[in-house]
């Protein structure tokens, strides 16, 4: 009755450290001076670029046939205001991608100036960037040009401020108790304490 389910042996992409130099060489050959930095981490390579070059680099990683970073993993923001190490700009948008063919991950760290926090959206390349970019817009106030539906996602639509910025205090603004309370029954008609 209970026939064993088909369980093909794993053909999961396997991490291949030997491909990290291949990746680094390809990107350096194509981008050269446009790279602000390159850092090899324990399991991937992080490329730092200016905001204007980020979309080109992500497109290159995805569409270059010998690389094939087709799997979107993550996209998040970082605020480096008063960070102990010198960084080119205040904000960074960090996109992580996986190449099933090469078996490595790559990370693109795009530095975004605080004076004009905007960069090109990756939604045309990866559908998964839609929500993650909305989240960055919501929590950091970084605008993504070409995003089809750029609006807040976690905070309420009428919320003011961007909570994950370093100059946004942990306490004092917009705690749960400060939100308006909506009643299903008008307060005047609801039974008062002690009545029912």
């Amino acid at each position: 009755m209970n026939a064993p389910a088909p369980n093909p042996r794993s053909s999961s992409p396997v991490y291949a450290r030997e491909n990290l130099p291949v990746l680094a060489a390809r990107v350096e050959a194509a981008f050269g001076d446009r790279l602000l930095g390159k850092e090899e981490k324990t399991q991937y390579i992080q490329f730092s670029v200016k905001a204007a070059d980020a979309h080109d680099l992500v497109r290159f990683l995805k569409e270059e046939p010998s690389l094939g970073f087709t799997w979107f993993i993550d996209c998040c923001g970082v605020d480096y205001q008063r960070y102990p190490k010198p960084v080119p700009e205040r904000f960074a948008v960090v996109t992580t991608l996986l190449s099933p063919a090469l078996g490595v991950k790559a990370q693109v760290r795009a530095f975004v100036p605080a004076a004009d926090p905007r960069l090109a959206s990756n939604v045309d390349l990866f559908a998964g960037a839609n929500w993650t970019e909305r989240e960055i817009f919501d929590l950091y106030g970084i605008a993504f040009e070409g995003h089809p539906d750029l609006k807040r996602i976690l905070m309420p639509d009428d919320y003011e401020g961007h909570p994950l910025r370093k100059d946004y205090p942990l306490r004092g603004r917009g705690e749960r108790g400060a939100f308006p309370v909506y009643h299903a029954v008008p307060v005047a008609l609801a039974p008062q304490d002690g009545e029912g």
């Binding site: 009755m1 209970n2 389910a5 088909p6 369980n7 093909p8 042996r9 794993s10 053909s11 999961s12 992409p13 396997v14 991490y15 850092e39 981490k41 324990t42 399991q43 991937y44 992080q46 087709t70 799997w71 979107f72 993993i73 993550d74 998040c76 970082v78 605020d79 960070y83 102990p84 190490k85 960090v94 992580t96 996986l98 099933p100 078996g103 991950k105 990370q107 990866f126 559908a127 998964g128 839609n130 929500w131 993650t132 989240e135 929590l139 807040r152 996602i153 976690l154 905070m155 309420p156 909570p163 994950l164 946004y168 942990l170």
Partner: protein, 403 residues
């Protein structure tokens, strides 16, 4: 001024706007879906999230690394142990801390038991949402037994906070192995019972087969991972991709289906439970006596009992806990993305360190958030009754979704 009655009167195409949630028994947690429906067909849909947003990432910047572990419990609250382990591994990779062998085996065991608990809830609830109430009772019995084990090991059932940076908080209790083996046997029976009840059940098949099909191209583009990706023919499992803990010593398969529909997602989860049972049986044999926390006491908290009896441990404990620039865990000034395989997919932590005892930035890459983004696309064109089936197979946990 908008008036619902007026809109109904004016519209001639029979299209009705419908809202489900955020507080609705079928919308696991606090999810809200707004749909335009024509009869029973959904023309357009949009989800709204954020009703459970708690600001974990902001809070994380004001907590030490060890304090953040209590917040990871509240991410995917059906498998808190996986979150604890994922975060501890990320911090250890960032700071370069070696964990002792016994701690690694214990973590592997707890991760797989927790995966069993999470999957058993999901498969039970999916069938329950489709009207088969019995299945959730079967799986809840098993889940209860597992939670009893978690209680015996960690002291709590839900908010386990079991790991510490460098190891785990407590050693396994006496009789752990025997107790787990008994549960595995009954868990196997339950998996078989579920297969027997649903794989050929006409009603269940009609409501899941070919419903909510995800294509392999969408999986990569949306960044979907975990059981949902593996149901659509994309075999990516972090445990195989880059084996952490002791997974490289264990023999297990990654179940994969190619249909990408709700039924395939259900089958993948049942098969994964079988594999988890296999892993736990093997990992139990790897248990050897030894320390459960890193001996490098500049970076790892000493075992709590020793701080009561031993002067040196107490000093190390103070050094780790006290606030101030010279105290606490001070990893190098850098950033790191580290991922583990949680029950719903790749659970990643992107940590930015400024060299102090608190992280500069904790980014949680929640599998639920990334997976759920595709939901409205799947239900567009489907029937109203499919919404519940597709949602159940996604296992979206609001705590992880909204953080």
């Amino acid at each position: 001024m908008y008036s619902y009655e007026q809109e109904i009167e004016e519209r001639t195409d029979n299209v009705v706007r419908m809202n489900v949630g955020p507080s609705h028994p079928a919308m696991h947690g606090t999810l809200r879906v707004m749909m335009e429906v024509q009869g029973e067909h959904i023309l357009r849909a949009e989800q709204e999230i954020g009703y459970l947003h708690t600001g974990f990432e902001k809070l994380g910047e004001h907590r030490t690394y060890n304090q953040f572990i209590t917040l990871t419990d509240r991410l995917n609250y059906f498998s808190p142990l996986n979150n604890n382990i994922g975060f501890a591994l990320a911090v250890e990779e960032l700071a370069g801390i070696e964990t002792p062998r016994r701690a690694q085996v214990i973590r592997t065991l707890m991760a797989e038991l927790s995966r069993l608990a999470d999957h058993s809830l999901c498969v039970g609830a999916l069938a329950m949402d489709l009207g088969a109430f019995t299945s959730i009772l079967w799986t809840f019995v098993e889940r209860e037994k597992l939670y009893d084990v978690f209680e015996a090991v960690t002291g709590t059932r839900l908010t386990t906070s079991y790991t510490r940076v460098g190891g785990v908080a407590f050693d396994l209790p006496a009789g752990f192995e025997k107790r787990v083996l008994t549960i595995l046997d009954s868990m196997e029976e339950t998996v078989d019972k579920l297969r027997g009840s649903f794989y050929k059940n006409r009603i269940f098949l009609d409501r899941t087969e070919g419903v909510g099909v995800i294509s392999a191209a969408d999986v990569e583009s949306y960044g979907i991972t975990g059981p949902i990706a593996r149901s659509a023919g994309k075999t990516y499992d972090v445990r195989k991709y880059r084996p952490y803990l002791v997974y490289n010593e264990l023999d297990f398969d990654v179940p994969t289906y190619t249909q990408g529909d709700t039924l395939a997602r259900y089958k993948v989860r049942l098969d994964e439970m079988e594999q988890s049972i296999r892993i736990v049986r093997q990992a139990l044999k790897l248990l050897e006596p030894g320390p459960i926390s890193a001996l490098d006491q500049k970076h790892a908290l000493p075992v709590k009992m020793s701080t009561y009896t031993d002067m040196e441990s107490l000093i190390h404990h103070f050094k780790m806990i006290m606030p101030g620039p010279e105290h606490g865990l001070n990893p190098p000034v850098t950033d790191l993305y580290s991922a583990t395989e949680a029950p719903n997919g790749e659970l990643g932590f992107f940590l930015v360190s400024d060299g102090s005892s608190n992280p500069w930035r904790v980014r949680i890459r929640p599998p639920s958030f990334i997976n759920y983004a595709t939901f409205s696309k799947l239900i567009e064109g489907a029937m109203l009754s499919d919404v519940v089936a597709i949602l159940g197979s996604f296992n979206v946990i609001a705590g992880e979704l909204d953080r």
